[in-house]
């Protein structure tokens, strides 16, 4: 079984997995127990598994563990130490989450858009994550101030 060294939330982890093709999502969740990143569809549609890889949004359900080696991976657990990222703050102030399950991926998409230089409503066009609870209006309000 192959081993890989990953940089997740600024920490180095060596993982042994069954295959080089194992998606990063399941390495995070089932090997590293970083369960903040969510499984939603497994086919890159819903965005619940979105993480930041070298500053870019990546759907971790379709990113092979081997291709994540040597890259900086940030998950929702590493977005801030204390919910202080401006998007997290805006999510609390605007009372965005309902069930909350999609919001890890939603916040990572927003954080990536901010990192890419988007502000306010221009973030919205970068966010394609699904929210079945329908929190979209509050998401719009929350990102308008970012």
């Amino acid at each position: 079984m192959p081993s890989y060294t990953l940089n997740v939330n600024s920490q180095s982890h060596t993982v042994t997995v069954s295959s080089a093709e194992m998606p990063l999502l399941w390495v995070l969740r089932d090997v590293l127990n970083l369960t903040g990143t969510k499984y939603g569809c497994g086919i890159e549609v819903c965005g619940a598994c979105t993480v930041m890889v070298n500053g870019q949004p990546e759907k971790s359900c379709d990113m092979n563990v081997s291709s994540a080696v040597g890259k900086s991976i940030v998950t929702i657990e590493g977005l801030s130490k204390d919910r202080s990222h401006p998007a997290q703050q805006a999510w609390i102030v605007n009372q965005v989450p309902q069930c909350g399950y999609c919001q890890s991926g939603m916040l990572m998409s927003v954080a990536c858009a901010m990192k890419a230089g988007h502000h306010g409503s221009s973030i919205a066009s970068e966010v394609k994550n699904l929210c079945v609870c329908g929190t979209y209006p509050r998401i719009k309000t929350a990102i308008a101030a970012l």
Partner: protein, 746 residues
Amino acid sequence: MNTSITVDRRKFLGISATGLTIGFAIIGMAPLDDAHAADSTTVNSWLTIGSDNSITLTVGPSEMGQGSRSGVAQIMAEDLMVDFSRIAVVQGAPSLSSTAIGTAIVAGGSSIIRNNYWKFRNAAAVARETLVQAAMNRLQDNNRSSFSVKDGVISHSSGKTLSYGDVAADAARLTPPASAPLVPDAELKVIGKSLPRQDIPPKVDGSAKYGLDARLPGMVFAVIKHCPTFGGTLAATPGVPAGALALVPVNVGAALGRGADLAGNVNAVAVVAGTTWDAMQAARQLTVKWTLPANAAQWSTAQFTAQAQALAANATPYVAGGANPPGTLYTVESVGNAKDGVNKPAPGAKLVDASYLLPYVAHACMEVLNCTVDYVPGVRCTIYAPTQVANAALARVLLLTGLTADKVTFNTTLLGGGLGRKLEIDFISQAVQVAIALQRPVQLVWPREEDFTHDQYRPMGLVRIKSALDAAGNITAWTCRNVSPSIRAQRGSVLGATGDSQGYEAAQGLPYAFGSRLTEWVSHPSPIPVGYWRSVGASINTFAVESMMDELAFAAGVDPVQFRRSRLAGDTRWLAVLDAAASLGNWGSPVASGTAKGIAIGSAFNSICAAVVEVSGTSAASFTVKRVSVVIDAYLTLNPGNVEAQLTGGVVHGLNAALYGQQTFVNGVAQRRNFNTNRMMRLSEMPQVSVGIMPRPARSDSTKPIGGVGELGVPTVAPALANAVFRLSKQRVRTLPFFPNATMGD
């Protein structure tokens, strides 16, 4: 007030403080809750005021995004007279006995707040007065008016103060009163405020724990692989596939009381591996031989629709004491001779006859079904489950393991959406079966494809309404026949003379002035498993009724709001909600070219809700939803901000279903397997939503029914949308969804 209050001196799980514990009864939802959880006297909830000034509420309903866990803390903060953020809410554990510690209550039917608002308030007031009595004893002044309470501190006229924690141990030795004065309406400080929900901060940093996030030492992962065809069974047990640790055949543990026709059938295998992905890969490569039901070739969407059409035209009436098989016609209500009214209309009358067809729809909760079980034979079983029905799930665990309840620890996790799907316990039963076979901790996961293809769907419904209008535009006769599979009959209930109330809810007892009316329901014999889908029957019937009201308004040449107004004479609440929605949606003000509005109103769970939808576009095949204005009258409003969130969420749920939602079947196999073919709205598609809340009465009355909120946004959106599209295009859409072939890439 029907309530039951005790001081409880047991030690409670997760509460370290000693102090005063007030036990009280809240009620669940019949018939989903078993009898003791649904009665109003069995103590099942506890408020603990610790000597360390902690305040803990142990209460049963699970949190699936509806906000009721935070909501109950908000109610109790009022009469306890403490800051709401001080009340920590602990998820109660299930129980099957009226004497054991147990707090699980069904989270469904938009029921938690509406059924228990006054019970929570009274228990908090009782706790407060018991603490004050302890302070009176301590200070040896039995004059209550010498004492006042603010922010959990009891002040005496002498200037002395005692915190709740200071007197909590003394209070625990007192006998609490059965009831205590509530904060008067005019002095409410907490109830009615848009307070921030307590459950939100952990949902922005990944620390909130859902069922799928349970992790136990030495745990393995299993994924389910069902027979793709409903009713199919395992023909031969396959060998353990490469990459897997084990393969476990599992029974249809099935739903709450689902009929004996399915029980005992092995219709799935669980494939076990070291990670979810390894299990998924092994399951994908596994070929399983199934025995298919003989008539599966007839189980296709087209056949189900043809059957419904035949039953809408001709069905055998219910006979008291008879067999009344699926396909039976039940008379729900009959006033006057409506049949003659529509079949032999008076000269000059207009007859409108229309059939509305709604499909099966999947729940598609963001968190797929899953359950984690640690079972040690004969010793103990620990469960982590995202469930709306922990009591029923516990009963299944005891049945499967043979353990007594004291050996089972049942942890209800957060739910990544419930929407009614997690009222079923099939996935919990399967996980326990796998754990029994493995005898090591295991998490069972339904891959998304299994979640879509083995749902217990919102039933399909064919609703035919015939109505006669006289020359003055009065509705002289109304007949409505709903043909849909019965949720209750599939669970083994014997239906009475009026059939399954969830089939005809929101079609019966309408407040409109109909000269004569006949409401009927026919049980459709479809074998597709059906279940409770946010707003249940109201999501079907309100579409039909409110589409027909719009068709009648058009036939009468009357504005749709005015048409409804003049037929709602005397029903002041419906009229007020209709008017408020029309006002919020700027009904009547000129609309831009290429845009149009539609309206609909309905009632569910004791609340009334109306929606105005504005669309722009060119036809029923090409339009955009621009705005939705929705107004609710729930009698009392606890947290307006959360009401807005829930109604907006309901609007999205209703739009997703109306625009795109359906599950189709070919030869008993569900066809839509993932979000790519089950489109849902994304952020860019979201219309502007405005929510209006009817003001709470100046003086609230505990005898008046409080309405639900969580499901109310759903039913009126689809008809308001269809009515808007009709005004836009003159194309009347009577079959949902609007865009049956839409995919996620569009």
